[in-house]
């Protein structure tokens, strides 16, 4: 790894993530860079871990304190974290990441069917398969950049989706989705006189409900830790440098492709892990997971939360899943109950105004939110939090300070 690269790499002047402090940190060799850490990072990690693990308590008042939605927060948090490694760090916008999520799910369910209901082989296989899949697609797609890269990834993902839905039905079970059956072979489980249970477990602990959530949460914290390390590493700096100015990187006689491909594969593996976890908490894999709108969703999560930031994608993922699950379940009866402190006439008017935005209209709220965030807060929710934090404490304008605030 040449020194000249680093000197050109550590002066990024623009980018979508608004100048995270880490970016300008000094250089180090690859391994040392990865191992290096600062007290602030560990503090952030600790706060993050605490926030995630206590989600059942502090999210309960807004109706999100039940296992399934918290599992989704954690799983899509991992998905968005991984996506951010590619898009947020290197600026390459993939519009086909849902394909890796879907492949991960299928791989995990096949492991459940063939090998064992234990979650570990399934997750390892899911990560490996999507890694290989990402390697193939990344190798081809990274021959182009900019919007062409986006279209290439989109094309691959759509092909995967269309085929999974129809021709590949023997592998994917098409529309109905791949499910675990009692009659599946499950070689390992048979060998060890296993059960006929069809619920994934880790050594006897069934990964549903709260156990499922804590399993996902631990993996999310792990994924967060790794992302943090990647961001602070030489490799992370390289990606930011590519985002800042790829042409200059090339002019220094340096090949950016291997770095991009690594980032692509890593983020594909994150997606595979997320897909695997979806299958672990709910052993069914459907093709819709791979549709382009699903790929769009992770882009939205990342941008909504804050591109290039560490916490942003996780927050964005939670916000979107919350809208999809909770807002869509509001109906007029619930609204009337929520506003019953108002006089009846006012109550009717308020409900009439709010009703189009919830229940059937939850997507309207979603669309409006994207527009508002992108127009007024290009750095996403993290930028908003940062602005507030700066206003409150003008002396400490770093993103880390803002980030740890957001964790509470």
């Amino acid at each position: 790894m040449s020194q000249s690269v680093m000197t050109s790499g550590n002066r990024p002047e623009k980018g979508m993530g608004k100048s995270p402090a880490e970016r300008t940190e000094p250089t180090g060799s690859g391994l040392r860079g990865f191992m290096r850490s600062s007290g602030g990072d560990y503090l952030l990690l600790a706060v993050f871990a605490a926030a995630i693990l206590t989600m059942p308590i502090w999210l309960a008042p807004i109706g999100a304190g039940y296992p399934d939605i918290l599992q989704k927060f954690a799983i899509f948090g991992i998905f968005a974290l991984g996506f951010n490694i590619l898009f947020g760090f290197s600026g390459y916008l993939s519009f086909g990441h849902a394909a890796f999520l879907g492949v991960g799910s299928y791989a995990a369910v096949w492991m459940f069917k063939l090998l064992s209901m234990n979650a570990f082989p399934a997750l390892i296989f899911a990560v490996l398969v999507s890694g290989v899949f990402a390697l193939l697609i990344g190798f081809v797609s990274l021959r182009r950049s900019g919007i062409y890269f986006s279209i290439l990834t989109l094309a691959f993902a759509q092909m995967s989706y269309n085929l999974a839905y129809s021709v590949l039905t023997p592998i994917t079970n098409g529309e109905t989705g791949l499910q675990v059956n009692r009659s599946d072979p499950r070689i390992l489980d048979q060998l060890f006189g296993g059960t006929s249970m069809t619920v994934p477990d880790i050594f006897g602990v069934q990964l549903q409900g709260w156990a499922g959530f804590y399993f996902c949460a631990v993996l999310l914290i792990l994924a967060f830790f790794i992302t943090m390390r990647i961001k602070n590493s030489t490799f992370g700096l390289m990606l930011f440098a590519i985002k800042a100015n790829q042409t200059r990187m090339s002019f220094t006689g340096f090949s950016t492709r291997p770095y991009l491909l690594t980032a692509f594969v890593i983020s594909g593996m994150y997606a595979g892990l997320a897909g695997g976890l979806l299958a672990v908490t709910d052993p069914l894999a459907g093709a819709e997971r791979m549709q382009w709108t699903a790929s769009g969703e992770v882009v939205l999560m990342t941008i909504l939360g804050g591109v290039g930031t560490l916490l942003g994608p996780v927050i964005g993922a939670a916000v979107i899943k919350y809208l999809e699950q909770i807002f869509s379940s509001f109906n007029e009866g619930l609204l009337h109950r929520a506003f019953d402190f108002l006089p009846t006439a006012v109550q009717d008017i308020v409900v009439a105004i709010v009703a189009p935005f919830v229940g059937e209209g939850w997507q309207l709220t979603l669309g409006l939110m994207f527009m508002i965030v992108v127009i007024f807060l290009p750095g996403g929710i993290m930028e908003g939090v940062g602005r507030i934090a700066r206003r409150v404490r003008r002396d400490k304008p770093s993103d880390d300070g803002a980030a740890s605030k957001a964790g509470h």
């Binding site: 919007i147 085929l163 882009v299 979603l366 992108v374």
Partner: protein, 337 residues
């Protein structure tokens, strides 16, 4: 032989729609540098202009319906029929083509409003942000349409004189080639609109400035020409073209609120295959992909490569992007990497 000719015909009307949407998309990209994910929504809005126009023409008096006995039901008799009898009925019959009258001003206003109110703030922002904000807008637009028109597809019919099919084989001396009349009309209509857009850009001073702006925006700006005013109008034109494509497509495809999303990805692929910012490329790629898609759906082809009709469009996009990244007719150096 007849099968091949029929599939080419299929490709032509499909391609007409693709070309019209992609034309506006590439025009916006070429001039403004904006990736407009709300373009499919403009196509959808055009279709709903036709729906609205038809609804207005068939504004009806509610009369108690004696044929329903279980509960109080009403049926509707259009005022036009009440007032003008057969002539009124004929106007209703021609509702779809007539709704162009409504669609042109409406889509122009929508386009101008979109550019002035939203898009112009995004010229300097990244493609990702442009995609996000226009995608958000697309969702908002389609949800508004859903709020008023519901989610079910709404049937609109072509004028009865233009429904049914004609025997084209008669002219060619072949048998078994009959093709829907309205689709031929649609193909011709798309040619007319494409020709009009090209003529406008080639023959008018305005068009000259726009083309110059597409080639080198800065220089044109330095010459003291207010290019952004011109580009606003370009956006309006692109919206009208997409809207017209939507209006005339309604008899082929019963419109529903997410019609735009169905066409969005496809039209981007068309633009990329044709070459980003290349008008001719968009048209050529539109027709080419339409025809390829038709051929891929033939049973004979599917027997060789199963599922090919599901992926052909994307396959072509991948191949074109890898082999000739600037697209079929794209200029060298534009978005090439």
């Amino acid at each position: 032989m007849d099968a091949i000719i029929l599939q080419i015909l299929n490709g032509l009307d499909k391609g007409g729609a693709y070309a019209l949407i992609a034309l506006g998309l590439t025009l916006i990209f070429g001039t403004l540098g904006v990736v407009n994910f709300a373009h499919g929504a403009l196509f959808m809005l055009g279709a709903f202009c036709a729906v609205t126009f038809e609804r207005v023409l068939t504004l009806s008096e509610r009369v108690r319906d004696p044929s329903v006995t279980f509960f109080e039901a009403y049926k509707e008799v259009p005022y036009l029929t009440i007032w003008y009898g057969d002539a009124g009925q004929a106007i209703v019959d021609w509702a779809v083509p007539l709704s162009i009258i409504l669609a042109i001003p409406v889509m122009l206003i929508v386009g101008l409003a979109m550019e002035r109110g939203l898009i112009r703030f995004f010229y300097k922002r990244s493609h990702a942000e442009q995609i996000l904000v226009t995608f958000g807008l697309a969702i908002v637009l389609q949800e508004i349409v859903k709020y008023f028109f519901g989610a079910n597809p709404i049937p609109l019919t072509a004028p009865s004189a233009l429904t049914g099919s004609v025997d084209l084989g008669h002219w060619l001396g072949l048998t078994g080639i009959s093709y829907p009349l309205w689709r031929i009309v649609y193909f011709l209509f798309s040619l007319v609109v494409i020709a009009a857009v090209f003529a406008f850009l080639q023959l008018t001073t305005f068009g000259m400035v726009v083309r110059a702006g597409m080639a080198d925006r800065e220089t044109v700006g330095l010459l003291g020409i207010n290019i952004s005013r011109k580009f606003t109008i370009v956006f309006g034109i692109a919206a009208v073209v997409a809207g017209l494509a939507g209006v005339m497509y309604t008899p082929i495809l019963a419109p529903n609120y997410h019609l735009g999303m169905d066409f969005l990805v496809l039209s981007f692929v068309v633009v990329v295959v044709g070459g980003m910012g290349s008008l001719g490329g968009a048209v050529l790629a539109g027709f080419l992909l339409g025809i390829l898609q038709s051929f891929a759906s033939m049973t004979e082809v599917k027997a060789i490569v199963p599922g090919i009709d599901q992926i052909i469009i994307y396959l072509v996009a991948v191949v074109v992007l890898l082999v000739r990244p600037r697209g079929l007719l794209g200029r060298k150096g534009v978005m090439e990497a």
